[in-house]
């Protein structure tokens, strides 16, 4: 039996009394590559944050490797890639410093940075092809390059499960392809991936399971929906909202099915 990375039962979240997640059941087993899909405001980012315990549940339960987030101790098993890099109050930080902070869950307080730490950081930076900029301040990088720094930070921690919030949003085609290549390496290595996406782009072939969130509920859970028609055209500018549009093709048929 494979391990369960995340198990949410009837997960509910409200912001100021307004329900955002209305009862989500979601189990992610190790080795799965799950895409959480949905329109803006459907609750997919909130779901990711709730899975990690960053947003408290107002109802239901969620477990990370069998423990509730507050009692979970093996945080090194999780590599979180937030939506964007926080640059803070303007104190510069180099690419290497930010990526090295991904090792924090593996480091004990009094131990100095080890050779293993340094190697993992250098490899992570090389994977996202930023070695030439390792000593530059992250503030000087473009949006796509900052996204790569975030991915490298997660890679440096060598986690079992990657949780990525919109890693493809607003990044250039080169970074999207780089992300796809990096992810396929992780998938081959048996890692678990949960990623939020508005559209999958070059990541699509890697996804083993698509979960569509609509208005705070799971609307589809199964094989990833394939884009059709205009949406499948490379370079298609995705401006319509999935949730309000009747969904065509492979998405029909499951809508009325019990999960």
């Amino acid at each position: 039996m494979s391990e369960t990375a995340f198990a949410m039962t009837d997960g509910q979240v409200s912001y100021d009394g307004k329900p955002v997640l209305k009862g989500i059941d979601l189990t992610v087993r190790s080795g799965e590559v799950v895409a959480l899909l949905g329109a803006n405001g459907s609750g997919k980012s909130t779901l990711v944050r709730a899975l990690l315990g960053l947003t408290p549940l107002s109802g239901g339960t969620t477990l990370i490797y069998g423990s509730p987030p507050a009692r979970f101790r093996d945080w090194w098993r999780i590599g979180y890639v937030p939506q964007r890099l926080q640059v803070g109050g303007g104190v510069p930080a180099t690419v290497r410093e930010v990526v090295a902070s991904g090792r924090i869950a593996r480091q004990s307080r009094l131990r100095r940075t080890s050779a293993a730490d340094r190697t993992a950081v250098a490899e992570a930076i090389e994977t996202v092809r930023l070695t030439g900029r390792a000593n530059d301040p992250v503030q000087s990088l473009s949006g796509g390059q900052q996204q790569r720094v975030l991915i490298a930070r997660a890679l440096a921690g060598e986690p079992d499960t990657y949780v990525m919030d919109e890693p493809t949003a607003g990044v250039d085609a080169e970074t999207q392809q780089l992300l796809a290549d990096t992810l396929s390496g992780l998938v081959l290595g048996g890692k678990t991936v949960v990623l939020v996406a508005h559209e999958l782009g070059p990541l699509e072939p890697l996804i083993t399971r698509g979960v569509v969130i609509r208005e705070g509920l799971v609307a589809h859970d199964g094989r990833p929906p394939r884009p059709e028609g205009d949406c499948a055209r490379p370079g298609h500018d995705h401006q319509h909202r999935h949730a309000v549009e009747p969904v065509a093709g492979p998405l029909t048929g499951w809508q009325g099915e019990p999960r």
């Binding site: 937030p82 510069p92 410093e97 924090i104």
Partner: protein, 289 residues
Amino acid sequence: MIFELLQEQLFQLALVAALLVGLCAPAVGTFIVQRRLALLGDGIGHVALTGVALGFLTGSAPVLTAVIVSVAGAVAIELVRARGRTSGDVALALLFYGGIAGGVMLMAIAPGGSNAKLNSYLFGAIASVTPEDIGVIAALAVAVIGVVLIFGRELFVLCQDEEMARASGLPVRFLSLLIAVTAALTVVIAMRVVGLLLVSALMVIPVATSQQLTRGFRTTMGLAMLFGVLASVGGLLASTVSTKVPPGAAIVLLALAGFVLALGVGKFVRRGRTEESRVSPRMRVEEVA
């Protein structure tokens, strides 16, 4: 002249105090600036005045009561901040005004309290530092540097991205309180040297100066500590030239002068960098043409 000064015990004490402040304030300040809490030191400084006055009122050492009250104030500020409500802003303002007004009031009714004493805490009185003060300042400085050395890696993650810190399993609440308490200790260290009203300047200005010139967090902190020491020792020396020069103000003005200088140098450095990147595409176009 400096050699003669070094023989004097008063000057030795003042020099040690200035060195410790110059090292500690920017070290803590780097984290605080990164966390967008640049004015935290000011707030704690206001509250600490009540602590000083309590010391005079109860006949205990003002430095010790200042430690207790400013740590309590820092914890209160952090708790209000963590709540993240908009009314927190006003709550903090109330705390600061209460701190100053309470301090002035208690000082007026305390036996042995006077306007001169009040001023020496508000604007610093490095020349009146006693050996006992130095003992407390040195112990606090060891605590502050210890926190930076032991928790620096975690504090870096916290100040960079609190969410990331949480998703890495770091004890976010503990670390947030730790940085606030460390800032409070730094305020007390700096209080005798630059005064409570200018305490924050030594936590912020050297960091702002340093980040004009650096590319990384660690180097920013290191350089800020160097600038802090240069300013505090320089200001102290300036005050020995004439008794008219108040050391606290001299230290802060010196730090500001350093900032203006670094701003110019930094602009020059950055212009050089952007010109480099601007030149290369143009050259490519010419090659094609």
